[in-house]
């Protein structure tokens, strides 16, 4: 039985499960993947030294739980690059409303590369208090998240 259940909006729906990486501060896409952008790195390890929750963690194929993305407008293209390189998270779970930069990147990756990051937003502030890095979660295509 799940430890907790949350219902969000299935922004890019899908059924996936796996272990989570949790950030309690805004996810700076550009800073996280700065080496991918600048140096052509093939690593999904978070490089954002301001994000002590995720810095040094490999986010590839993980379920990343965040309040919202922040930072550079290069974020949209970065989502497409990490999808193309196969180092993207398998799901992104937003406590807040998705922003246009993440939305644009994830949707273009979905429609133009045929590679999907399952995305759920509007999960609420309590969601990030209920998940801990390493927890197992199930994401359902209707936006339901089962934690534990």
């Amino acid at each position: 039985m799940a430890k907790a259940t949350f219902k969000g909006r299935p922004a890019v729906p899908g059924n996936v499960e796996g272990s989570v990486e949790v950030s309690h501060i805004g996810f700076n896409t550009c800073a996280t993947y700065v080496d991918v952008l600048i140096a052509g790195s093939d690593s999904g390890v978070c490089q954002d030294h301001d994000n002590q929750d995720l810095f040094g963690h490999d986010l590839a194929d993980k379920i990343v739980c965040i309040p919202q993305t922040i930072g550079s407008s290069s974020a949209a293209t970065l989502f497409m690059i990490i999808l193309d390189k196969g180092i993207a998270p398998k799901a992104m779970l937003f406590a807040n409303h998705i922003d246009s930069l993440a939305a644009c990147g994830i949707l273009m990756g979905d429609n133009w590369l045929g590679k999907r990051i399952v995305t759920v937003d509007l999960l609420g502030d309590d969601f990030l208090d209920a998940v801990t890095t390493g927890d197992k979660v199930k994401v359902h295509e209707d936006g339901t998240i089962e934690v534990g």
């Binding site: 246009s100 979905d110 590369l113 509007l122």
Partner: protein, 466 residues
Amino acid sequence: MATHQLNGQIGTDPNFTPTTHTGHSRKHVKASHDHPKMKLAAEEQEIYDGKKGDVLQKAIKTVVAYGELFGAEKLVDLGGAPHLAVSWGSDGVEPLLKIYKQLAEAGLKTYAPFTADPKPMDPVHLPVTDQEQAAVDKIYNRMDELAELNMKLGMRSKKDWSCACYLPEMGNTPNRGDNLAWSESSAINYVNSVIGARTNRNSMGVDMLCDILGKAPQFGLLTDEGRQAVWLIEVKTTKLPHPEMIGSAIGFKCMEDVPYITGMDRFISGIDEQSSGYLKDLGAATASNGALGLDHMEGVTPEAVDKGRDLLNEGYQTYVIDDAELDRIYKTYPNLWKDKQGTPQRVFLGCPHMSYRQMTDWGTRIVDAMKKAGKDKVGVPTYMFGSQYVKDAFETKNPEVAKKLKGYGVSIPINCPMMWCSTPVEGAELVATNSNKTRVYTTARFFFDDALTELIVTGKLPANVA
């Protein structure tokens, strides 16, 4: 080589603000709310179903999904002409170039000829060393590819690169009420506020897809209710405030909520050649310290002139700006120069690109100050940024001033000063600027006009601001 500044610090959100970046707050939206699907017209449905080819189908599917996430219930036809923010060809935008290539190979073009933001470099008017140029060439290794794709997709001409495309000399000026899908934040604020056209703050990529379709999802600033103000800004300064400072203050406070600004009609009587430059810079500052896409100014901007305070929603918040508040804002600007007390190496004027009037005013100001000081060379290399069109107009109509400026060592580059500063090889130079936008996105320091003039003439900052 200087260290780069790309660690999340460039782009639409240098302050890392939790906004939607669309210019329209969605803080009120919950998962439990109704999230309607978009209703498509018959011709749109045909595209969606793939009857007009798979490339157009991918375009409309992306645009529809994007719109639905932000509450759009339908697509609207676009008017005016497109303007695109992608102006640098690097490996970082390769995914967009791949999409552009697919669009071009399918024979698609934008619904009208488009303009684009300025290129990052101008090797003619703002040259760098051979070593730096080699590094720049590696960073912007896809410039030719981008330019070629742009021309195939409908770019108006090879000289149509400027963020201030709406100025009369460049002529990509929409009409009031035109729906657009622009993505340059300063241009978005200008055409929404000063002209009364309608565009959301679109992400790069989605802008091109909308422009290929000739349609945009109707939400936020494309709707009457999305253009209502939720902030009343009462300006109580003793004189016309500096546009960068008041824009900065409003941006910090309102983030992406629409403000209704009062008290400015004491200083500005309407939209003219002078005030349009002022409003351009004010809007750019609101869009760089915040994420504003629209501001109404009582007695000045067209929707405020027509509707007055009916533009204010019930329950609005109030923010009073006086001289002390602007002074407080100015004092929050950090000094990010590597050598904090160093001597500035360059002066950058104009971000967004200067209007003709601004270029003429600054050119005259510099000439007068140089004459008064009896100098024949500027004390620090000085650059006035503008589009090729504005530059041509300025040099044609003011040949004597232009000749003197050239002789003094003042250049008129046509590239983007902000991107120039953000390019890794240039990042550590000590740049002084009159632009809050350049300040926000780079390590450049902001100074007021008098201090910059003294710097330009003497090569030194006044003691009271150094």
